[in-house]
Symmetry: C2
Subunit: 139 residues, 2 copies
């Protein structure tokens, strides 16, 4: 079945395709409002069901985002030679995880931050919407 196209000429990904692409990737970008400005923070993440989870240092500016209703999380991949690519956008609520059972499950994912600084907190994004687009291959 041909994928639906949007007004920008991009193929609309299904929910399942979005989840598969996010699960197969490792770095995404969290966008949130802090002091009235949009911040964008790249993080490496793991997937927990349909939620995205990542580590953060205590007292980080991210906590401002957690208090906000909705954050955005984007994952993509592009090939500048083939001129193709895809992106998935998750909008949802960010939450610092405190339940020991959930922390234990997340720890078992083996996710560790790239940088050497300790990041003891786990943040989970509970998706409200997951949408994605793919650039169709040139004909």
């Amino acid at each position: 079945m041909a994928a639906a196209m949007d007004h920008a000429g991009l193929a609309v990904l299904t929910f399942e395709e979005c989840l598969e692409l996010v699960a197969a990737s490792g770095v995404g970008r969290l966008a949130f409002l802090a002091d009235g400005e949009i911040e964008i923070l790249p993080v490496n993440y793991t997937v927990d069901g349909s939620a995205v989870a990542f580590r953060t240092a205590t007292g980080f500016k991210l906590e401002a985002a957690v208090e906000r209703a909705v954050v955005a999380f984007e994952v993509d991949a592009y090939d500048e030679i083939e001129r193709t690519g895809w992106s998935v956008l998750i909008k949802g609520r960010a939450e610092v995880v405190s339940e020991p059972d959930v922390v234990r499950r997340l720890e078992s994912s083996g996710l560790r931050p790239y940088a050497a600084v300790p990041k003891p907190e786990w943040v989970v994004i509970h998706p409200n919407t997951i949408t994605g687009r793919r650039i169709p291959a040139a004909g």
Copy 2:
């Protein structure tokens, strides 16, 4: 000279390093507010002085962003094997370009959208701030 480190253990990039990295890359992510939610839109771009310029289709949702005071534009690169990477965040004002001289200069960059849909409009982001971080190589 050793780079300054931030509280997250990341090396702080200089303004010049940020500009060089952005100029050497081709795809970034524009984050803007639309209907009270953060949207993130990947775009391929060119650099015009210290500004970032990209094409968009007429009547796109982006126009909501242009009316806003500040948008954010992020460029990054990560190596999941080496566990290194960098990101640059530009905050600034987005503007649809109407001056023929500027359009002509931008057209001469040769930038063309990945997708086949016509994108006649040029949008320029005039930076207020440009900041960047690099993950130091593991010791």
